[in-house]
């Protein structure tokens, strides 16, 4: 509870934030603080200067366009949950955000913080990976974009270089019927800690075949893991596809080396992947078949 002495600054713009980040060694970004402040309490935190972006309006916008929803990195989970744009275009974002921690944390925690922390129990890294999202990284040389897959590098690690800020996230809006499902295995109670998650995304193209299939597991590998063999198996099938077990069986679970910890053993995590993968695919396919979220 007792932090090290720390310097604090509240920039007025993202440019100023980046400038501050580059001017002070050991400076870090404070957004919602719902993970970072706890790390600082344990005095295992890296930063001696906090650049507080939580009040920067330019990072808190949810914008709608024909192709994308853009969400500012400092947008809170609660704002995502209550966003009409999200509700209309990609409700899975709100449904998933609603499962994070509790009301208090959702009121301050941000989507950008969730991504930058990139704990394997975090909700957004797998979801954004499955949605084919683009991460907008802002540095002193301006804005750069990278895919979610490129962004989430390993346990707690992202592709953000020092001096860079995650400014926003762009999430594509499918033009076809689609389905999204985020299926966590929470241990320690309901929506307490995601030991393993599987997220699935499917779309149905004009001829009625499944396309843009993405199945992503977390908790079993350093980064959100694309289960490509499953994706390939489902890709091109008809909307009536139902051989979930067959699809999931294509994935070589023994290749996974999930971590063992006090929350769950590696073996249990590995065993849960096919279970959750079937469930996630089933949910996503049911949505597609209902023309849901068209």
């Amino acid at each position: 509870m007792l932090l090290k002495e720390i310097s604090y600054v509240r920039p007025h713009s993202i440019d100023e934030a980046v400038a501050l980040l580059n001017s002070y060694p050991e400076a870090g970004i404070l957004a919602g603080g719902q993970s970072l402040i706890n790390v600082l309490k344990m005095r295992i935190g890296a930063y001696s200067t906090l650049v507080d972006i939580s009040a920067l309006e330019e990072l808190k916008q949810i914008r709608d366009s024909a192709e994308f929803i853009s969400i500012g990195a400092a947008t809170t989970y609660d704002d995502i949950i209550h966003s009409p744009v999200v509700m209309v275009s990609r409700p899975i974002l709100a449904e998933t955000a609603f499962r994070i921690a509790d009301q208090q944390v959702r009121n301050r925690g941000t989507i950008g913080g969730n991504c930058c922390y990139n704990d394997p129990t975090c909700h957004f890294p797998p979801l954004l990976t499955a949605m084919g999202a683009t991460m907008q990284v802002y540095g002193s040389d301006g804005m750069r974009e990278m895919s979610a897959e490129e962004f989430f590098v390993g346990y707690y690690q992202t592709a953000l270089a020092s001096g860079q800020i995650l400014a926003g996230i762009r999430i594509p809006k499918p033009k076809r019927p689609y389905g999204d499902a985020f299926v966590p295995l929470s241990v320690g109670g309901t929506d307490v800690l995601n030991a393993v998650t599987v997220t699935a995304h499917v779309e149905l193209d004009e001829p009625g075949t499944l396309t843009a299939v993405r199945v992503v597991a977390t908790g079993v590998a350093p980064q959100p893991l694309r289960m490509t063999s499953v994706e390939d198996f489902v890709h091109g099938q008809t909307g009536q596809f139902s051989d979930l077990a067959g699809a999931v069986a294509t994935f070589d679970m023994s290749s996974l080396e999930p971590p063992s910890d006090v929350h769950a053993s590696g073996l249990y995590r590995r065993r849960m992947v096919p279970v959750l993968a079937r469930r996630a695919l089933k949910m996503a396919l049911e949505q597609v078949r209902r023309g849901y979220r068209e």
Partner: protein, 822 residues
């Protein structure tokens, strides 16, 4: 249950038995409670404790030279100095446990992760914490022992070399004729091992204290939240080399304890030393990680070689087992747990032949202490597991087996094999009520229809007793030298100068509503409204009365606390009546009390208000009617009618009252993941006569909530090196509102013939949810793999593996046909 009773005799309203608004609520709801950390003293300094990162290590050296120069540092205390300033704390155990040396800071080596090693006193908490980062300690890590059974093995690392063994206490409890019952049994069920896991109730308020030393009188004042201060004093006085009357404890509002705040004397001693050294009031604030690492854990217990002789109809004749109780690194309340379980030897059952070979050991883990249901829940869990395993392995109905074996209401009062007397109760009726609350037949049907859906429904029962009001004489079974027996609580009820009714007691309430229930009792006796009764809460040995047993623990307030209040109020009533009779020139038998006045019955104009009576005694005593000797200041000590137990036979009445708690649970297990969801839950309790039904129901809810958490989500898990892997609420998954169901409750009232008010102590709950959920999971396994639930902690993963590898769990479980009857 909320009717207002009218007492025929006095024609006054009866407040007891009624759920009146709690007197505590107003201040607590406004944020005006006074909790230990809310206390501030002028010029206070702050204590920060640097704790061991190791489970077991020798301290080679501690270098505080840099830290000493850090900003704001006032004093740095290490074990080296403590060893000079403090005698080792008294040990309750005889040797070998009695040889174990316990100091407030680690001396020479660290025995568990989180043990305080250095205490830094600084101007602020932050500066103390900053200075801690500058302290260099050279440790030599030692192999750790973290398992009770392993601690007994030859060559195991010794937690305390000075004792020469890890055994704290060993004894064999043998009642009846277990060999005989094995010989005559139709079948003998054997279970190799059952394990009751380590968890803790973790009150939301952690420990805290402000400690001040007055050199003038040599007195220390502890504003703290310790819940058994005179127990603390008994350890601290000799350790500090001062008379215990120099230790002045003040407790006010306490944010939960569940027993966990009893053993904080170790920390209070650190504060006392620093307060004297520095001449400053010192403040210690504990945070959650400190609390989970170094507070007080529940006892972990492993049962092995369980042998259960049974008749073909399911009648259980007895149980033989070995128990190894893991006390953690220091026996700080222990080894009392090694005997306290024997308050409930047969649980609610009739079997008479019992042998338990009981060993308590130390390990490199946090010391244990009382934890809601203390020591009895482990034993009753084992008995309940035995009942379900017997039912499953003999293909009998678990409900029928329970009813077959329950002690029956017509047998009450019932003397158990070890001489405890169950005062009253109706277990079959409570079970029927619990089954009715969950609609048992409906769930048995649903169980069938759920087959093949991937979800398995299980129904379980937990039958338990909440033994309340200890006979401390049982401590002599552990150590015949101990000068304890019986129990007692004291209360003072007085009229203050202006006729106000003021009540004091020595208890340390932490949510049980003592202010309210004490006021109810006094109101009935003095003819008042509870708003007219002021109850000074908390234990304050300079202000309030107290005994050596004062405190709030062991489910005893309704009996000892209210028994004392009742006695004191009745004494005061007699004095008021005497005085009023004298003043009003009436016969004592004509005097009645109502609304703060004494009057002559039938002639209400002949009255004198309490203020008038108080005036006569305190400020106008020349007008006192002649021949009267009244003080209007009445103290009464309630002592339960206990005898010293027979130490040799380990026989005697160890508890005054026995509340019943019968729980029924319905769970659904996801076959593919092992995730368990509670679908329905019922708790029926019988706490004798209810003083405040709503408070009693609240205790039932609370005990059930903690038990559900412990059964499914909460565990203190150490790795092989003694690292606690669940040292905060991230790892220790305290149950949230989502996962405790809207339980159904009902109560019956079997008044206790032994307590002064017919009430029974209650509140600990006997761990019934652990039993009921394990029982429901056993019912799940019975339909599927036949796996045996051998652990009290069953998170999703464990349930998953039980479904996957049933055979492994069935190893070591067998039913043997006895020679007889074949």
């Amino acid at each position: 249950m909320s009717t207002v009773f009218t007492d025929n005799k006095t024609d006054t309203i009866r407040w007891t038995g009624k759920s009146i608004p709690r007197k505590e609520d107003d201040r607590l709801l406004k944020g005006q409670g006074r909790f230990a950390d809310d206390i501030r003293r002028h010029n206070e300094a702050h204590v920060y404790l640097l704790r061991s990162p190791y489970g077991h290590a020798r301290i080679r050296s501690i270098d505080v030279s840099v830290a000493n120069e850090a900003p704001g540092v006032i004093y740095i205390l290490t074990g080296e100095e403590v060893a000079v300033l403090q005698k080792p704390f008294m040990e309750i155990a005889p040797p070998p446990g009695g040889l174990m040396e316990d100091y407030c800071l680690a001396v020479g080596k660290v025995h568990f992760m989180g043990e305080p090693v250095v205490a830094i006193l600084a101007e602020t908490e932050e500066l103390g914490r900053d200075a801690a980062d500058l302290i260099e300690i050279d440790y030599e890590p030692l192999p750790a022992v973290v398992d009770g059974q392993a601690a007994l093995q030859a060559g195991a690392p010794l937690v305390h070399e000075e004792a020469g063994t890890n055994v704290v206490w060993h004894g064999v409890y043998d009642w009846g004729d277990i060999e005989g019952s094995i010989a005559k049994a139709d079948k003998v069920v054997k279970i190799d091992r059952l394990h009751f896991h380590r968890f803790t109730s973790t009150p939301i308020e952690c420990n805290a204290a402000v400690v001040e030393y007055y050199p003038g009188s040599g007195e220390y004042t502890f504003w703290c939240n310790n819940t058994m201060p005179q127990f603390a004093a008994m350890f601290m006085g000799p350790a500090l080399g001062i008379p215990t009357d120099r230790l002045h404890f003040v407790t006010q509002d306490i944010g939960g304890s569940f027993g966990n705040k009893i053993t904080t004397y170790v920390y209070l001693t650190i504060c006392a030393i620093l307060a004297k050294k520095s001449g400053r009031p010192v403040k210690w604030t504990e945070y959650r990680t400190d609390h989970i690492l170094g507070g007080s854990h529940g006892n972990e217990r492993t049962f092995s070689d369980i042998v259960v002789p049974v008749m073909a109809d399911g009648t259980i004749l007895g149980i033989s087992a070995a128990a190894i109780d893991d006390a953690g690194a220091f026996p700080r309340y222990e080894p009392l747990g090694s005997v306290i379980w024997s308050q409930v030897v047969p649980n609610v059952y009739r079997f008479r032949d019992v042998r338990i070979d009981f060993t308590q050991v130390v390990t490199n883990k946090c010391p244990v202490g009382p934890n809601r249901g203390y020591s009895r829940l482990q034993h009753m869990w084992m008995v309940e597991r035995v009942v379900d395993i017997v039912a499953q392995e003999l293909h009998l109905d678990p409900v029928a087996v329970r009813k077959q074996n329950y002690i029956l209401p017509e047998q009450m009062p019932y003397e158990t094999p070890n001489g405890c007397v169950y005062d009253s109760g109706d277990y079959p009726r409570c079970l029927d009520m619990a089954l009715e609350l969950i609609d048992y037949p409906k769930w048995r049907e649903r169980q069938q229809t759920a087959r093949g859906t991937g979800k398995i429904i299980g129904i379980g029962i937990g039958s338990t007793l909440d033994s309340g009001t200890n006979n401390f004489g049982q401590a002599r079974i552990i150590n015949p030298q101990l000068p304890f027996s019986g129990n007692g609580e004291v209360s003072n009820v007085k009229l203050d100068l202006y006729g106000e009714v003021v009540v004091t007691i020595g208890t340390t309430p932490q949510g049980q509503g003592h202010e309210t229930t004490a006021a109810q009792v006094v109101s009935d006796i003095l003819g008042l409204h509870p708003d007219q009764v002021r109850v000074l809460i908390g234990h304050d040995n300079a202000r309030n009365v107290y005994t050596g047993f004062s405190g709030t623990y062991a489910s005893q307030f309704a009996v000892t606390g209210l028994g004392a209040v009742q006695g004191a109020a009745e004494k005061l009533r007699r004095e008021i009546v005497q005085l009023a009779a004298g003043v009003l020139q009436a016969d004592e038998s004509e005097i009645a009390l109502r609304d703060g006045s004494a009057f002559v019955q039938g002639q209400e104009e002949r009255a004198i208000p309490f203020i008038g009576l108080a005036n006569i005694v305190f400020a106008n005593n020349a007008t006192m009617p002649p021949g009267l000797d009244v003080s209007l200041n009445c103290t009464y000590t309630y002592r339960p009618p206990f005898k010293v137990p027979d130490v040799e036979k380990k026989f005697g009445n160890l508890t005054l009252t026995y509340s019943t708690q019968i729980h029924a649970s319905v769970v659904e297990v996801d076959e593919e993941t092992g995730q368990t969801t509670i679908l329905d839950y019922a708790a029926v309790d019988d706490s004798g006569r209810l003083i405040h039904p709503q408070i009693v129901e609240g205790q039932v809810h609370g005990a059930a909530g903690l038990g559900i958490g412990a059964a499914l989500y909460e565990a203190l898990e150490y790795d092989e090196e003694g690292q606690l892997l669940t040292s905060n609420f991230y790892g220790y998954k305290a149950v949230t509102a989502i996962d405790v169901p809207m339980m159904k409750t009902a109560a019956i009232e079997s008044p206790s013939p032994f307590s002064p008010n017919g009430a029974k102590g209650m509140g600990e709950g006997g761990g019934a949810p652990l039993h009921a959920i394990c029982s429901a999971l056993q019912d799940v396994m019975r339909q599927k793999s036949g796996a045996i639930i051998k652990d009290s902690y069953n998170p999703s993963e464990r349930v998953y593996w039980l479904l996957q590898n049933a055979e492994k769990s069935r190893q070591g479980v067998s039913v043997e046909e006895s020679g007889h009857g074949l």
